[in-house]
Amino acid sequence: MIQKRYKLRFSDDNLQESVAYILVSKFNIQPNILRAEVRDDGGVMVLEMKGTQENIDASVVYLSDAGISIRAFDKQIIKNQDACVDCGACISVCPTRCFTPDPETWEIVLNYEKCIACGTCLNACPFHALSLPL
């Protein structure tokens, strides 16, 4: 079992619920909708899928065939350099260790590549420097 996050862009607002249903029934995936922004003409959502690699791959193909734009949702963290004071409050809460202090300068360096967009660090930063835009 693995866990992956995707950002889905859809145009039909009914699809949101049926996506979860299809994933459960057809692909034996445990879906978890983390965020959703729905407007009259469709919307965006962040979906977490738990299942085998095979089933996750198959659902991605299925969804994109159904006309939904689907992209891996990771590396999304954004840091506002002006707001960041390099305190380090974010370091120990990140599950994938994206934040590491530079041993020379004590700047807190953010490795965007490792970010799985879990959101844990957002409210750990007292300076509102971190965001995870949809």
């Binding site: 305190c87 120990s92 300076f127």
Partner: protein, 383 residues
């Protein structure tokens, strides 16, 4: 042995030898404290972290017609108006009501004023024969204010316990986000650069000591609140919260680089301030203490899921261990987060060093010594 007068004479002639508390460690290791004390005139310290017990006195000037302000809001944050007509005190933890997802408080207002931003002032008063106006709604900037000075009743805590959480759920505390089941530890200090860890018994720091406060010049006004000398020591330095200082300084000299509002999730707002204190190297003893390093500085680890009274110490760790990123607890590796910025602490100590080297900042001999003993009494709940 040197005197304040001799050191200041060298500062005036731009001949003073100044090291930061970090740079001086190696010097003392290689030369020994006696030789180093002959060479070094001043050691500069620095810290940049949360200092909740902070705020500022502001004087708005009189409008025409004038108002005696009793109820005051700055960008929606309440300022205390129980002073003369247009004097107020804004505290760092005062929070704007309904500030939504992002908390906004007194610390942010102070930061915005220092950054030169316009701040909305709304105030109400009873209306009197001499102050007829009952309300006012306008914008102010730091330049418009007659006086604006920080007066912080408790800053630069001498050491502070590190925090962890043994519960099954995440705790949001003033020591940051503490993950369940001891998944992380937070600590807040600049350690070997920290002002009161480099002069642990306040031999040179006292009432009237001139300091770096928020980018400008400030002074030690008094002992800080909850001043405590009873903490256990290791290597001659307390291992948890002990001495504190009350600091003041002119906001008009400050720089927003060194003063930042904070929003500590589910705790409230606060302020981070850069503070630097110079230590005159009068003798080898003072030199030795100012050369303390993270390997020799310890703090107590406590569990924030129990109330303060019942908090048992889970262990003692050196700041070198904590700063390494992980510490060992009963065979488990626990990840650590500093909450105060070491990069900025260093920046403060460097800046103060520059000022002294350039002859712009003279040292002051304390006008009075801070108490040699002090204990913190609890508040009893009586019926």
């Amino acid at each position: 042995m040197k005197t304040y007068g001799e050191i200041n004479e060298r500062i005036r002639r731009k001949k003073a030898v100044v090291y930061t508390a970090e740079e001086v460690i190696d010097l003392v290791r290689s030369k020994g404290p006696e030789k180093a004390a002959e060479k070094v005139d001043v050691v500069t310290t620095g810290t940049f972290g949360a200092m909740c017990s902070s705020g500022a006195f502001l004087n708005f000037g009189h409008s025409d017609p004038p108002i005696r302000m009793t109820d005051i809001r700055l960008n929606g944050v309440e300022a205390y108006g129980g002073l003369a007509a247009v004097d107020a005190y804004i505290g760092s933890t005062a929070m704007r009501e309904n500030s939504g997802e992002f908390g906004y408080g007194g610390g942010h207002v102070i930061e915005e004023l220092i950054a030169g931003n316009r701040v909305r002032l709304r105030a109400w008063g009873p209306g009197t024969d001499c102050y007829v106006r009952k309300d006012i709604d306008t914008y102010i900037t730091l330049d418009d204010l007659n006086e604006a000075y920080m007066f912080n009743p408790r800053n630069v805590y001498q050491n502070y316990s590190a925090a962890t959480n043994t519960l099954d759920r995440t705790l949001y505390t003033y020591m940051g986000k503490l993950l369940p089941r001891m998944k992380n530890i937070t600590y807040s200090t600049s350690g070997q650069l920290s002002p009161l860890l480099n002069d642990p018994h306040l031999e040179t720091i006292g009432g009237g000591t001139r300091i770096f406060l928020g980018g400008g010049e400030g002074y030690v006004a008094w002992q800080g609140t909850q001043y405590d000398t009873a903490a256990p020591e290791r290597n001659g330095v307390p291992v948890n919260g002990s001495r504190t200082l009350a600091l003041m300084g002119d906001m008009k000299q400050m720089d927003h680089d060194y003063v930042r509002g904070m929003d500590v999730h589910r705790y409230g707002t606060s302020i981070a301030i850069g503070v630097g204190i110079p230590i005159p190297i009068l003798n080898a003893d003072i030199m030795k203490r100012a050369a303390v390093s993270d390997e020799d500085l310890y703090t107590t680890l406590v569990d924030y899921s129990v109330t303060e009274k019942g908090r048992a110490a889970l262990g003692e760790y050196s700041y070198a261990e904590l700063r390494s990123g992980t510490v060992d607890y009963e065979g488990h590796k626990i990840r650590t987060s500093p909450l105060s910025s070491y990069r900025k602490a260093r920046q403060v100590a460097e800046k103060l060093k520059d000022w002294i080297e350039n002859g712009e900042f003279l040292l002051t001999e304390p006008i009075f010594r801070l108490p040699e003993t002090g204990t913190v009494k609890p508040l009893e709940v009586r019926r």
